[in-house]
């Protein structure tokens, strides 16, 4: 993961991630394990006021001994002076949601603002869009447009499924039969 992706997964500003790395006095690995550790450290910092550098080390220990329980677990500081109950499963679930967002939505922002075209129709034509398709679609009602989209998506799914099934059949035919 890049810094931007890592920050996106844990729903934090990249600057905050860099500040944590500075507090730890070492670079953070941008991995799933590190994302989970940092999310737990952020919770310890918010709930117990533990400095985030220290919380990061405590989080590592807590996750090492975590058995996947859905119940909140007691997490203690190194010297045992602070103990808080943390819902580790929920925190890890928030990282899973972040990983899903990363896979589905994330793309680094392009530099600069999108150009504002004086003539949007000409810009679309120059880009290669078929304006007759747009004009034909505008003559349809919203209901017709939605149904058309549904039909096209379902058709594409059927084609994909058929292609997938063909690929499987082809693979079976090509692979040597088990005796």
């Amino acid at each position: 993961m890049t810094l931007g992706e890592f920050a996106y997964v844990i729903d934090a500003e990249p600057k905050w991630v860099q500040n944590v790395a500075a507090a730890l006095d070492r670079p953070l690995p941008y991995t799933l394990a590190s994302a989970r550790q940092l999310v737990v450290a952020r919770a310890l910092n918010a709930e117990a006021g533990m400095p985030v550098g220290r919380a990061y080390r405590v989080a590592e220990r807590a996750l090492d001994g975590y058995d996947g329980s859905r119940k909140p677990v007691a997490v203690s500081s190194d010297d045992g002076s602070v103990t808080v109950r943390v819902d580790l499963y929920r925190l890890l679930a928030s990282v899973s949601a972040g990983m899903s967002r990363l896979a589905v939505l994330y793309a680094p922002k392009q530099r600069g603002r999108p150009a504002r075209h004086r003539n949007a129709i000409r810009a679309a034509r120059d880009y290669g869009l078929d304006l007759t398709l747009l004009q034909a679609n505008l003559r349809r009602s919203p209901a017709e447009r939605l149904r058309l989209l549904d039909q096209m998506v379902e058709f594409r799914q059927r084609v994909r499924r058929a292609g997938h099934a063909t690929a499987i059949t082809r693979t079976r035919r090509q692979s040597p039969r088990a005796s």
Binding site: A93, A123, A124, N137, V153
Partner: protein
């Protein structure tokens, strides 16, 4: 598929606005989309009702392997700005705000009522979709932006002719 999803959400009395690719298609876009995006009212009761619907559809995170820690309850939704889900009904993204437009109140204000059969729901307008695409700044959104701006211009041109 998308029509069924919208009908189910409406029949559950959820307060939401259709945004993203499906809203663009409703406005005249010819681009295909694989998922439906909705922006929901963040009032707790509305979130709880939405979660009940998503649980009934066996929602799980999209794009990640099965078996990762996952919680789908009101608290999880309240603490996640966006959830990207796959369900028995199809893929759905739920958002508490739309970049470039704002929170649910702003999105609602930038939406219009759409009637399909007996189903009435709100969908983001072309100016709202354009504002959202401008704010996101991903390469694929910039391509889509050209189409949306052309649609708006074509519609304005058509309205101008109708008045004349």
């Amino acid at each position: 598929m998308f029509e069924d999803i919208i009908r189910e959400l409406v029949s559950a009395h959820l307060r939401f606005v259709v945004v993203g690719g499906v809203a663009a298609a409703i406005q005249g876009s010819v681009r295909l989309t694989n998922d439906i995006d909705i922006c929901y009212d963040t009032e707790h009761g509305n979130i709880a009702a939405m979660v009940a619907v998503l649980q009934r559809w066996h929602a799980y995170l999209r794009g990640v392997e099965r078996g990762l820690p996952f919680i789908l309850d009101a608290r999880a939704v309240e603490t996640s700005p966006i959830m990207t889900l796959t369900t028995d009904m199809g893929d759905i993204d739920i958002l508490d705000r739309v970049p470039g437009v704002g929170d649910y109140g702003d999105v609602h204000a930038a939406s219009e009522l759409v009637t399909i059969g007996r189903t009435r729901f709100r969908s983001l307008t072309l100016p709202g979709l354009i504002a959202a695409k401008r704010a996101t700044g991903r390469p694929k959104d910039r391509e889509h932006l050209i189409e949306l701006e052309a649609l708006l211009a074509l519609r304005q041109k058509h309205r101008g002719r109708s008045r004349a």
